[in-house]
């Protein structure tokens, strides 16, 4: 087991990958695959699509490694993932300005494109009121369980700005959630059962 701090290890692996070492890149993959896959899934809610995009993200990362000039490798990787999801939706939706599945305008379209059994159609109404970045911050904090500091790093923002945005997003949700939660209650119980 490697005892080096993760950032130091990552930096070494990035350097070796840039020099063409496939095995170093494979280790980077192992470190980040779960985070990146989950991040993509929360933006697509479709396992087939998430799998395809995830594969593309790591291939692109390999191809563009020479362009990575230091800083946070994970922020760079998240940026590739975010852009790849946007590209997917813009390509699939006649180039409308859609960043992720939460932007799909039509409820039926949203339901048709997410995995069956997720029953998230009603929370979509609440998520829709949020800006893309606010939505992403909530996903990262409450679904990916990333601390604010790390979210700030991934989004290349100051920690205070991320917290402010999170507070704003929660305030917005506060106005939209109660009804949603009420409507969702039976579905919520099912989801919780599944998760347990």
């Amino acid at each position: 087991m490697n005892t080096k701090p993760e950032t130091e290890l990552v930096n070494e692996l990035v350097k070796a990958s840039q020099d063409g070492a496939n095995d170093a890149f494979a280790q980077l993959y192992d470190i980040y695959i779960k985070k990146i896959y989950n991040f993509i899934y929360y933006k697509t809610l479709n396992s087939t699509v998430a799998e395809d995009i995830c594969s593309q993200v790591f291939v692109k990362a390999w191809q563009r490694l020479s362009q990575f000039k230091g800083g946070s490798f994970s922020a760079w990787l998240y940026a590739i993932a975010r852009n790849s999801v946007s590209d997917y939706y813009r390509h699939e939706n006649q180039h409308l300005n859609i960043d992720d599945c939460w932007d799909l305008s039509d409820k039926d379209d949203f339901l048709a494109r997410i995995d069956q059994g997720l029953n998230l159609d009603k929370i979509k109404e609440a998520m829709k009121v949020l800006k893309n970045e606010e939505r992403e911050i909530l996903m990262m904090r409450f679904w990916l369980d990333l601390p604010f500091k790390e979210i700030a790093e991934q989004l290349e923002k100051k920690e205070g700005a991320v917290k402010m945005a999170c507070g704003r997003a929660l305030k917005n949700l506060k106005h939209n959630m109660p009804l949603v939660v009420f409507m969702l209650l039976p579905e919520l119980i099912n989801i919780c059962k599944k998760m347990n």
Partner: protein, 553 residues
């Protein structure tokens, strides 16, 4: 979610916004629900292994990382020939690569700092306090570039003159205030375009776009600005030694009796080369501005069938770009990356690629999409980076290396904005009072307010401005009969409101942080003059059967 964790999150949020305490109950519920609604991603080790196999197969198949060495070696390839004289080209090219100090940094053994110090004859202040603060940047004493305020009058609107040739730059010299007309300079005229016609967006300035009176409202966070001094950068260009070195070869040549030695004090300003092959490219070196432009060698890109279209509209129609012809952003970036990699262009000083999709804004608003003229070229931009921050133009668009892709041919057709990274830096006093800055942003900064001078029905459109981000912004200063390119620290306020009823092009408001520029801006932010309703404005109307669509610049 654990109670402790929930409590920690709330405490972190209260520290920044204590008003949230009032809603603790609902917030707890919202956070709990958000957490409980976390979708099951169905991630398993088997899935990770499956994706890994796909990725590593592609990696092994040859998706190798591109090399990082920046060189202009591509110029040395045999496929490039000088139009008219292959022999001369080879000699000149060797000189370009090995003699021009401006390009010496491209060679691994070049000593850039010495080059700058010894050959820069444009630097007025030589009070160097630090010979090099990073590769390609020489730090000078504070305020070394003199007053920046005067540049406001001299700068050339939001035009991206780095991407112009020197001749184009000369023709784009600032004009007198009278010729700008009614106190409205070219920088904030939205140019209209006639959909359905070619010509790459060439427009008639007399066809006035519908302007709307707007009111900017800042809705972002209050920021605290602690930086009292900040670096301003000036790009170093031109070097007389280089052109005289180049000319030493040419002066002994005789072209059909013309003796070059009979001319005095010659200076090379441009060198043009072209690939003599199908879909060949033309490469132009601009020695005055130390820029390289690559474009189509148009003779090698002709489409005979289209050339023969004449007045047959149905024929022309076949060659119009359709939306389905536009590749996805990732495909465009991949094409561009390949071109960059193939020619060993160094991206050390440029940020991640992005596609210039400005045309889509007008396209989405076009009532008849079939009639909309989609440009034949689309650009992939690698924003110039300075101190880790992206450089923007004065409209807030990324500024840097642009790779142009021909959508009809689905091929890279050239690039512009490729320039050696040579700058001087000097510290200037920055504004720390954020309220002053956002008030200037609410006044529209340099561009002021758009005003519907033709169809004013009294409607005021409210535009929200979000929390700004820090960036460097490219400015032009007209000084000593030449334009100097400066990079100024600035705050960029994103425009959050999109109008559904009208096209509104500006995506951000840029406010410089340099104090003396703010003083000048404030002095110039006078109300835009109201048009005199009794005075007939001479406007050339477009033909009745054409629909005029506004277009972003």
């Amino acid at each position: 979610m654990q109670e402790n964790e929930l409590k920690n999150i709330l405490e972190e949020l209260y520290k920044l916004d204590s008003s949230l305490r009032e809603f603790e109950g609902p917030l707890r519920e919202v956070i709990s629900q958000m957490s409980n609604l976390r979708p099951d991603t169905q991630f398993t080790p088997a899935l990770a292994a499956k994706i890994k196999e796909q990725v590593m197969n592609k990696v092994k198949e040859g998706a190798v990382p591109s090399t990082t060495a920046f060189s202009f070696n591509f110029i040395n390839k045999q496929k490039y020939v000088y139009l008219g004289s292959a022999f001369v080209v080879v000699l000149l090219l060797m000189l370009v690569v090995y003699k021009l100090p401006a390009f010496k940094q491209l060679k691994p053994d070049a000593n850039l700092n010495l080059d700058i110090a010894s050959t820069n004859n444009q630097s007025k202040s030589t009070d160097t306090i630090n010979s090099d603060e990073g590769d390609g940047v020489v730090k000078l004493a504070a305020n070394a570039f003199g007053s920046l305020a005067a540049q406001i009058q001299g700068e050339m609107a939001a035009a991206d003159t780095r991407n112009m040739t020197s001749l184009e730059k000369q023709s784009a010299m600032p004009v007198s205030s009278e010729s700008a007309g009614a106190g409205v300079s070219d920088s904030f005229v939205i140019h209209p375009v006639v959909p359905g016609f070619g010509g790459g967006g060439m427009i008639d300035y007399k066809m006035i776009a519908p302007w709307y009176q707007v009111k900017y409202v800042y809705t972002g966070d209050q920021l605290s600005l602690g930086e009292k001094q900040g670096a301003v950068y000036k790009r170093l260009v031109g070097d007389l030694n280089s052109s005289s070195s180049l000319l030493s070869l040419v002066k002994n040549l005789k072209f059909d009796g013309l003796d070059m030695s009979t001319f005095n004090n010659l200076k090379a300003t441009n060198l043009s080369l072209a690939e003599d092959k199908d879909k060949g490219l033309a490469i132009n070196f601009d020695f005055l501005n130390d820029n390289i432009y690559i474009s189509e060698n148009w003779q090698k890109w002709r489409i005979p069938e289209r050339d023969a279209c004449g007045s047959n509209n149905a024929c022309w129609e076949k060659f119009r770009v359709k939306e389905s012809d536009v590749p996805s952003d990732s495909d465009l970036i991949a094409m561009s990356d390949k071109f960059i990699g193939d020619h060993n262009i160094n991206l050390n000083h440029y940020g991640p690629a992005q596609v210039d999709n400005n045309w889509r804004q007008a396209y989405e608003l076009a009532p008849e999409k079939n009639n909309y003229y989609i440009p034949e070229y689309i650009s992939v931009i690698y924003p110039l980076m300075m101190n880790g921050e992206a450089v923007l133009d004065q409209s807030g668009n990324p500024y840097g290396l642009r790779v142009n892709i021909n959508l009809l041919q689905q091929m890279v057709a050239g690039l512009n904005g490729l320039a050696p990274y040579r700058y001087q830096s000097s510290d200037y006093t920055l504004e720390t009072d954020f309220s002053r800055i956002f008030k200037i942003a609410e006044g529209g900064s340099r561009n002021g307010m758009y005003y519907d001078g033709i169809n004013n029905n009294g409607e005021v459109q409210e535009i929200e401005l979000g929390t700004p981000s820090r960036a460097y912004v490219q400015y032009w200063r007209y000084s000593n009969n030449d334009n100097e390119e400066l990079l100024i620290p600035a705050l960029v306020f994103p425009v959050l409101t999109n109008s559904n009823q009208a096209f509104y092009g500006q995506r951000s408001i840029v406010v410089p942080l340099v104090k003396e520029l703010l003083d000048e801006l404030e002095a110039n932010q006078s109300p835009i003059p109201m048009p005199l309703s009794d005075v007939e404005v001479p406007v050339e109307s477009p033909p009745a059967d054409l629909e005029v669509m506004p277009m972003i610049r």
